[in-house]
């Protein structure tokens, strides 16, 4: 029997921005055993959110630092479903614009981080430069770069005038042009392709068995996206999910690249279709009811469940972030991989551990 080596991966590792501990069992260079450990980031936000729902919105927004908008959106979606709160159409469009801008920024950020992990520093700098324009645009629309505090029960906090819409379209046009150039250059890079093609292959059955969500699922050719549910303004946008056959790291990269361009198109469509009108329906009072609601975060399906007892104080807030659903499959997926491919494969799932542990 070959000697086995145990290699700890994390909690601090150069490619991981957040702590998680993988314990890898190796036979020479091949992984034969995988285990992971969580618990470095648990903040008890579910317990903290059992309070006045107006304050809980901001608490839920702080679950994640990258996709904060979609967290507040899903929580507010739950409140609106449970409390039968009407939302004006213009607010729905504005929310969709925020969600899609957030997806562009998150995917660009992830592509940069992944490029950094495979040693392609130039791509990292180029994508993060484009991401900065998108973040600035979000700041111009909502007033904040990261925690937007934009979505409220019954509408949104700020409107977009014609001048801003024109500016947004100009910025997005520029971002699209340079992102296309970067994608074109990167997709012809032999070194990059050799690091990701045919590595970390996940088949459809494995994907469904472990309940994988988001771009990782669509990278296996499964056409499923919560945006097809038609929440907010997606029902008016003729949305079609992007899929890519293969299930390897390359297809997970490609789904995110294609989604970035799709999101730019969706934002443009929103600005085209949006009509003047009110952006907020005033709502006051308690929430009596329970409801489940889900949205498509940049990393996959985000699920919230709330229960209100007629007062302003919520009885229970349940948050299920996409990474917690994506984590279990890595125990099987990493088996048989070469050790050098492990960082890229883990990163190809776009893990976010502060979301996972809440």
């Amino acid at each position: 029997m070959m000697a086995r080596t145990i290699v700890p991966f994390g909690p601090q590792h150069p490619i991981l921005a957040e702590p998680v501990r993988y314990t890898l069992e190796l036979e020479e260079e091949t992984v034969v055993g995988v285990d992971f450990e969580l618990g470095w980031m648990h903040r008890g936000i579910e317990k903290g959110a059992e309070q006045d729902y107006n304050k809980a919105i901001f608490m839920c927004e702080r679950v994640c630092g990258i996709c904060s908008g979609v967290h507040s959106m899903t929580f507010v979606g739950c409140l609106e479903k449970a409390g039968d709160i009407p939302v004006p159409d213009r607010a729905k469009y504005l929310r969709t614009i925020l969600l899609e801008l957030e997806r562009i920024h998150s995917h660009l950020l992830w592509i940069g981080v992944a490029a950094d992990a495979v040693g392609f520093q130039n791509l990292f700098m180029l994508t993060w430069r484009e991401r900065e324009h998108v973040v600035d645009l979000m700041e111009a629309i909502t007033g904040n770069r990261v925690n937007h505090s934009y979505v409220m029960p019954g509408g949104v906090r700020g409107d977009v005038d014609e001048k801003m819409a024109k500016h947004a379209l100009e910025v997005l046009g520029a971002v699209e042009a340079s992102a296309k150039f970067v994608a074109d250059q990167a997709s012809h890079d032999r070194t990059l392709i050799s690091r990701v093609k045919g590595v970390g292959i996940m088949d459809k059955a494995m994907c469904l068995r472990y309940g994988v969500v988001g771009p990782n699922m669509r990278g296996c050719g499964i056409k499923q996206d919560c945006r097809s549910d038609g929440y907010e303004a997606y029902k008016w946008l003729d949305f079609e999910p992007v899929t890519f056959e293969g299930g390897d790291n390359l297809s997970r990269v490609m789904v995110r690249v294609l989604e970035t361009f799709q999101s730019i198109e969706l934002v443009k469509k929103c600005f085209k279709q949006i009509e003047p009108g009110p952006i907020m329906e005033e709502f006051k009072g308690g929430i009596n009811g329970e409801a489940a609601y889900r949205c498509e975060a940049p990393r996959g399906e985000l699920f919230y469940f709330i229960r209100g007892n007629g007062t302003k104080v919520l009885e229970r807030v349940k948050i299920r972030a996409p990474t917690l659903a994506n984590l279990m499959v890595t125990r099987e997926l990493l088996l048989g991989e070469e050790f050098a491919n492990i960082p890229v494969t883990i990163l190809s799932f776009d893990p976010c551990f502060s979301c996972t542990e809440r």
């Binding site: 008890g44 449970a82 309940g211 009596n288 009811g289 409801a291 489940a292 469940f305 229960r307 209100g308």
Partner: protein
């Protein structure tokens, strides 16, 4: 933190709001629950997560499934926290993390699940999402009872220690500073002043 709803007269019926097609199934016993979970497995529905609700003595578990047709399916089942519940890991491997979470944070017992995910080893036996959980009790268990706050009069030694001086320094300070006679003379000079002022005031009146 969560403020307790003060003296609610009687809990109102809480309505469950659903989207078109969304179903909440409520099995009566364990057999029915197993049959429903099997149905979800056979239909190829994706397991999403488990929500646990604290209902006082009992705990209600809601199993969420995605039917892959833009519709959610839920099974709600009330369990006694002292009785071991069945695990769905055989059918849905992804349930492992969620069952661990429910065991750890809500204190449900599930067969074959240890309930170790987020919390540290010191917090064994504490379930923070329960309504009966108190942060003060947790702190006592982790750090021991809090020390009582007492106000102590500072002694001469304490003050000298703070100033970084010893007894010898203090004697030196006393020896060199002033002439006693001069101070006494100054005191005499100062004394008549208030008397004068008093006279002036009387004069004005």
């Amino acid at each position: 933190m969560a403020a307790e709803p003060s003296a609610a007269p009687k809990p109102k019926e809480i309505a469950t709001k659903t989207a078109p097609g969304e179903v909440y199934d409520a099995p009566k016993d364990l057999e029915e629950f197993n049959a429903m979970a099997k149905k979800a497995y056979k239909n190829g529905w994706r397991f999403m997560c488990i929500t646990a609700l604290d209902k006082g003595e009992n705990i209600e578990l809601i199993y969420h499934f995605d039917t892959q047709k833009f519709v959610l399916y839920h099974i709600r089942y009330t369990v006694d926290p002292d009785v071991e519940h069945v695990s769905l890991v055989d059918m849905f491997p992804s349930a492992f993390l969620f069952e661990n979470e429910v065991c750890e944070l809500m204190g449900v017992k599930i067969k074959g699940i240890q309930g170790k995910l987020f919390l540290s080893k010191d917090m064994d036996g504490m379930h923070p999402l329960r309504k009966s959980f108190k942060i003060e009790e947790m702190l006592v268990k982790l750090q021991g009872p809090p020390e009582p706050h007492t106000i102590k009069q500072a002694t001469k030694e304490d003050l000298m220690g703070m100033a970084g001086k010893t007894e010898a320094d203090l004697k030196e300070d006393d020896a060199c500073d002033f002439d006693e006679e001069e101070v006494a003379a100054k005191g005499k000079k100062d004394k008549p002043k208030p008397q004068k002022k008093a006279e002036e005031k009387e004069g004005d009146a």
